[in-house]
Symmetry: C6
Subunit: 234 residues, 6 copies
């Protein structure tokens, strides 16, 4: 089995094989402001600049322009990497606007379009890394739990057929450590990473709660967001 280096300071060392098992789909859970989107883009940025692995960012919540702007303060020139074909941002916000026509939203057509677009782009760019931001928006577009689950199964099966290692970002309803009820769809993923903010100590922490195909450390590790992005502190 091969393993994917995240390249994020201190994260790879949390796994016995120094990275994610290649091909895994990993759920990244965190409350508002927990740093999920930064984590996702840093994974693609390191892939593009250090490991020569192209990546795709599926932007469901924000326009590509805003996605680029949000990480500009870390000195990550996503716009340039995009021109070089190393990071591709799929603008899934445009279909979002169209989807607000009720019939389309409810038919689930949206998820199939998304999967088709993603597949084409993976083949075209040779991407090895995918970030989907976010599962919450897919859930938001689903009229009931059954529809959401059907969409998730389609997405999960499709991702397992592409040769990519994926982070799926999802908003948790709490930002505190110790609130540990998992969303019911967790078992569809090969891994779960939890990013939280301990409001009493004012510290950010990251914990790996599941990772199929490798052993991993069990604790919650302090991390900071500084001028270079996310960094695990010893």
């Amino acid at each position: 089995m091969e393993f994917v280096r995240t390249g994020i300071d201190g994260v790879d060392g949390l796994f016995s094989m120094n990275g994610y098992p290649m091909g895994n789909s990993i759920l990244v859970l965190g409350g508002p402001g927990s740093g999920k989107s930064i984590f996702g883009m840093q994974y693609l940025y390191k892939g593009a600049t250090v490991y020569n692995e192209p990546g795709i960012y599926v932007a469901l919540e924000e326009t590509p322009k805003k996605v680029e702007r949000n990480v500009a303060s870390f000195g990550w020139d996503v716009s340039k990497l995009s021109e070089e074909g190393k990071i591709t941002i799929i603008d899934a916000t445009t279909p979002r606007i169209k989807e607000v026509d009720d019939d389309v939203v409810r038919s689930g057509l949206g998820i199939d379009n998304l999967i088709t677009n993603l597949k084409e782009m993976v083949e075209k760019t040779g991407a090895k890394r995918v970030v989907i931001d976010s599962l919450s928006l897919i859930a938001f577009h689903s009229s009931d739990d059954f529809e959401l689950r059907t969409k998730l199964i389609r997405l999960s099966v499709s991702l397992s057929e592409m040769d990519v290692t994926t982070l799926v970002l999802a908003e948790a309803s709490s930002n505190e450590i110790g609130t540990s009820v998992f969303p019911p769809e967790t078992f569809l993923f090969d891994g779960v990473i939890w990013m939280v903010l301990d409001t009493s100590s004012q510290e950010r922490r990251l914990a790996i709660r599941k990772m199929r195909g490798t052993k991993h450390v069990l604790g919650a590790f302090r991390f900071i967001i500084d001028d270079d992005g996310i960094q695990i502190k010893a």
Copy 2:
């Protein structure tokens, strides 16, 4: 990237760039009496009087007259600023009365009218700052979660197309610190500010829980409401 000064004593210093990233939509959450409406009007007042940035207050809960009256004790002459075109209050309570006809409410027509009116007024006044008071009333008019989410996506997309920095006020179901479950729509916003009242210490506190495009401090900061409005205490 440009940044917007709130002008509220002690708030701008909580962000590494001394203000909100321009263009952000920010959710201001707080329980009853937490000071959300004062925070929102103070943001517009400072914009109008200190930074020469016109603003719009979308009054869904109260008539413009009552909105003006509520902040009169701080010496903010909103009526005069309104005549000068520096603060415009959109009276969204009149449509509210009309909307109680069941068909209109359920059709979601209301949100489109609101967006259209807001767009026109932004263009006409050159407003840079918008306050929507409140999301709770929009939710109140929605017959189910799916309708609310559809409205929120329309509003969110529309706000991102206007060149404004927006505060959307929302009532939390608790006024206590430590009750930190976020409403599910939080991820649609670029930022989240939480205003709470610690009932044991009888102190008001404000915390930034998320702000895309800038680093920010993590703690909860004591603030007071005195004769000049809101003020962060060291």
Copy 3:
């Protein structure tokens, strides 16, 4: 802005302007036996006997006769004040009986009748103070949340059009201090007063949680119910 004196011992002093802002609609929340009804009637009684302001008591839960009887032990002769036109009790229990015919209840006709009756009576008596006892019964008659919210908006808008300062009594599901989840309709009101019973210390407490248009103290204040009614203790 003008302010209304409650005349209840120790209550007016909790507000920076010594009373409620005139025209406010205030939610009075409390568990069973918390003293809400006594608070409401004392507000009308003081208005009628001390400040020469006529009042209206909308009795949804109990017949006027029972309302009068319940406060007789405080020496408040509501029957006499009623004859003098200083306190008017609207018997909204009679329509209540009629409303149990399913069609009428579900049509929401009830709330419109109530509003119409209240308006007429305000004009006729020159009432400045209104007490609605209780919101819980209005909720009880609503077949779903959407119907209730529609009723509340109609009531809220109508109250803001009359020139009265209103207390709306509502039953909380707990009588303990520290249980502080607010009902979702709270934001429709200009103020919230919470009356609780601390079962461990066996003390009654009152707290102002919101009051638009005036500053107020933040703490919870001990009160007693003695032979003269409600009284805040220092």
Copy 4:
């Protein structure tokens, strides 16, 4: 106003006027085995044997025979009092069996029959005291909350028209002290008495949480069930 002596050792002294205000409808809440049924029958027994006030026991849960048997160990010969016309047990379990025919249950016909029977029996026996055992069974027969509330309003209005002082027994979902969420229909009653079992100290306690028309003590009082029934301990 007149007051009704319960005659139960130590209970009357908890009210400033030594008893319930005559005409009140009082909810007696308690978990399984809390002693509600014993409290109810003791109230009737004392009325019949000490105060010469006839009483009616509406037996919805158990047959009259079982009701009599359950209190036989206290030496209360209900059968004899029944022959003397001092205590009448209305067997509401027979209609219960009939009501399991779906149409009848859902029509709400049951509650009207019950009210009619109760009225006739009150007139016939001159009863001053009524016990309804239990509200839980009425709820059990209701297909939704709206139907239940409609039934409760009919019952509540009807009881207020009869010249009786009523205890309505209701099963709480917990038997512990400190679990103090009230059922939503509480506000329809003039009083609430809570009977609980403190499982840590293994002590039974009784608390008055509401009583219109009289002041009452606020604490929770230890009681025992011994050979004479319920008895408050100092």
Copy 5:
């Protein structure tokens, strides 16, 4: 009134009359693995071998063969007692399989068949003791709460007409002491016995929470399951 000896070591002494009041229907609540089924079979076994009272075990969850196997390790030869007519196991799992045809399940026909079979068997065998294992499976077969409640009322009324003392076993959602929310149907039973496992002390405990017609001790008593079955420890 007569009383039934359970014959289980230490249980009878928890009641002032050394046993259950004859004719009572008793709910035995406990989490998975709490020992409910063993308690039920031990009650029948002791009845058959010590008190010469035949018993019936209604096996809804498992086949009679498996029921017998499960208690074989205690040396209870249920198979032999069955041949002697002292313990009869009604196989209610066969109808269970048939019932998965949707129409039959939803019609509630199942409960009537069960009652009819039970009545016939009680008459035929002269059974004095009945165990129904379990209420949970009856609930499982009910499409909504209303259907379940209708079934329970039919069962409750039918049991009260037979001359038997019944244990109805039901699975609680927790196995811990201190989780004491009762299921809503509890009030239909004359008694409630709670069997729990204190996971911190790793001790099993049994508590009587209600028993009509007799006084009982209030505490929770430690018990063990050893080679002879259940045994209360002093």
Copy 6:
């Protein structure tokens, strides 16, 4: 009665008869990453390599290829055992994809196909051990609770007719010790094993909460996942 050795270090000794009662269906509950799938495969691997008992792994969540890959790091060559007919993986993910056609999913046809396939395979391979991974996916495919329960009863009855000892894996919503609310379908199983991660001590623990037909230890036992798989630590 016969007993099945798991062969997992330290697990068999937790049962008084050194293993599961043969024929039992056992629910293995745990949060994401608790080690359920490893436990399941280790049970089959030990059966195949130590006890010469063939096994079947019903893979609903992942393709057989991924299942094999996930345990490769323990040195378990499932692929080879599969060729030798000692472990058979039923690929239930292919029907999963088909099932996303709405009609098929809702008809419950899926579960019958699964049962039929499993029966055939048990007969063909002489399997004595079955692992179903996972119940959560079956629940995921059910449009409501009633459908799920119907499926579970069919599965439960079918498993009891085959001569196999089965582990059914199910995802719990929490990974913490002390969160002990059981899912409602627990009583359909003969045993319950709980696998949790104590996040404060960073230790994994395993507890047996129910096992029909044998006595078992009550505590929660620390285990580790090392290069050889799961191992209970003294």
